[in-house]
Symmetry: C2
Subunit: 458 residues, 2 copies
Amino acid sequence: MRLSTRLAPVAALCAAVLFNSSHAAEDTAADAKMLRAIYTAALTNGPAYEHLRELTTKFPGRLAGSKNLAGAVQWGEAVLKATGADRTELQPAMVPHWERGAKESIAIAGGAKLTAVALGGSVPTPAGGLTAPLVELQSLDALKTTDVKGKIVFFNRPMNPEYINPGLSYGDAGDQRNQGPGEAAKYGAVGALVRSLTHAHDDVPHTGNTTYPPDGPKIPAAALSTIAADKLSAALKADATLQVSMQINSRWFEDAPSANVIGELRGSEHPEQIIVVGGHLDSWDIAPGAHDDGAGIVQSIEVMRLLKAVGYKPRHTFRVVLFTNEENGTRGATAYSTAAQEKKEQHLFALETDNGGFQPRGFNLGNPAGNAAKRAARWSALFEPYGIASFSDGVGGTDVHPLLAQGATVAGLTPDSQRYFDIHHTTEDSIDKVNPRELELGAAAMASLIYLVDQYGL
Amino acid sequence: MRLSTRLAPVAALCAAVLFNSSHAAEDTAADAKMLRAIYTAALTNGPAYEHLRELTTKFPGRLAGSKNLAGAVQWGEAVLKATGADRTELQPAMVPHWERGAKESIAIAGGAKLTAVALGGSVPTPAGGLTAPLVELQSLDALKTTDVKGKIVFFNRPMNPEYINPGLSYGDAGDQRNQGPGEAAKYGAVGALVRSLTHAHDDVPHTGNTTYPPDGPKIPAAALSTIAADKLSAALKADATLQVSMQINSRWFEDAPSANVIGELRGSEHPEQIIVVGGHLDSWDIAPGAHDDGAGIVQSIEVMRLLKAVGYKPRHTFRVVLFTNEENGTRGATAYSTAAQEKKEQHLFALETDNGGFQPRGFNLGNPAGNAAKRAARWSALFEPYGIASFSDGVGGTDVHPLLAQGATVAGLTPDSQRYFDIHHTTEDSIDKVNPRELELGAAAMASLIYLVDQYGL
């Protein structure tokens, strides 16, 4: 099925011809009726929100290696069984195991405490903590021209407010958290502080993964709330000799066993061909993980319920995958795509939901021929009554992306994004930030796309 | 300018011809640059959210006749002056003056209290309250076939969850609150309870206006939270003889003086032709009025700031109008349109924002020719980068609608609506439900449309 991208226009033509020969003609009236039935089933007492309440209250802080992630795996399989999966499976994956330990403490030496959380993967401070002078930088590049030896480096570049899509601002500022500490360590820094990656101006610190270059030195690293970052910056301006004390009590353990949770409806015509919908079960340790990605988990399960509720029998095998370890290792995604390759499974389509449970606006899509978004856009009129207006090019998401290399079309749900980074990777990513109807509308949009792809292909 | 709607296609053609003769040709590159400048000014430290904090904390519960509405009027004029209005004006309007009095109490007689609020405009219960048997109805029609004499009527039809737009569900269920008590009174009921108009299942009651037919009997009326409504319905099923006690302490006063607040930038080419943007200053007495309609107030002021921030000098007179008394009388809108007619003012365009400060999605538009939405849609590509994709037919909103009859094109901002009715007319309509970027994106969308209309007309 894979074609060189240089042949994309030809591929599109061929796909259209193949489509006409191998599938029924599209029946817009019947499809419109099916979508309406799916949306009605979702909006009338759909259980997604109650599932999310259960997941986030019973198993908050579902980080790889934690007891709560193990509990969530069991919970996920039970819910998929109760939803009517023909078959469930726990697909093993060994995952990284990092623990925060006792609460971290960051303070101006001899002065005010600063609201902060250790970054995921951070090494601990030496016993007794560390105290060192501070240097504030706006970029990793500045490391080349600044003496940071023996100092704590404070990356304080705010997310750029000018992007309309905060995801772009997040990507833009993310090097400070992802690579900043490791890079600063190369230049002799002894610790790193990072401004939280958020547009919100509040006292809530945002964690997230940091990675050190292999074989490079490792220094402890924490994120400050944006208010704490402003406070620290002002204090440093007032006193250039200011020192900061850091105490981080984290620890790395041996890899731990975990699993992807798979639930299936066997295809009635082509059981050997697979359509996937999924999100990730794990969350950061400090976070209830409601939007990231409890929402995606309960929406994926809800897609299965909706297909059954409207009496639809998939032609191809429909599979819900609750991926493990998206946040700090993506070992779940690797385990899934590796097994698919080994078993020579044929994945037609894989749809991810990991951008929050907000009002859905569209999908991003990618396929080897490079025409997936255009192909899906032919259904715009069907989706228009439901506020789904955007079909853009993309690679789905972290967990389904590897299937693209196996010839699958990958896709991701695109919800509104303005509120997402306000609570991303924080204690505040809780169920009260999720609107039950927005959550169900996302599930209904996905079930609708799955139905259309199952009927007509992409 | 007015044309019969039967001539709409011809009108569109004529408008296009007239446009070409009377305005500069549209310069898409320059316009795109202007929109980008407007959005950047909005997203980079725009003050709308801080204005909203001030309005909702200093002057919550801005109901017509209240001290807080009077305070908000003064505040609004001061902010418009500080924003750089060439001229401000307080346009007087006499407004209804209803007060809730001491907190209402609704309870199962001899049993549990029920979370409730009196409806706006409700008459009080007799001294000492009233206790009567209960009858539950699902519609006003059921009054014709049910004996409600001497009883308290309980309208308990939920909002229909199947509509995608909750505004339609609200309209659909709204007769219970708007006319239900007055209609029940005609049939001899002594009191009325109404299920709160919301999709949320919680213990927050929603007030809102109820109106009695002129010269008909009037009975006291309150809204129950959806949880209280379910509780009461279950209790009634268990005991058909159940009675309910109501105590409402409301009072009508003489009409009170209030004012619309007007702030203007004088047009550089056609000062006699007016473009309006506005929202309403008043709110329900129990509500901080953040989304309804504090958001619209600060967005309207922000439109003026944005035009000035990007150095744009309007060709026509640009007017911000902070309308008074939208919630229970619309005397502000009447005063404004009456004055416009008396002064023979020529209104080209009037844009309202009264649907909450959520992520903006588009505009509804109406004009005498019936082609305003289509005309505005020619700017779709300019708005596309900002998520503004919908240009639909409509009548703007309650406050600008009267100007349509004077030949103006009217419009309303259309934001996401899923969360709006969760907090509408409640104590929970507070600033923490508003996202600063979504609020500014709405203001930027409006400023962009105002710029385009000012440049090219509709």
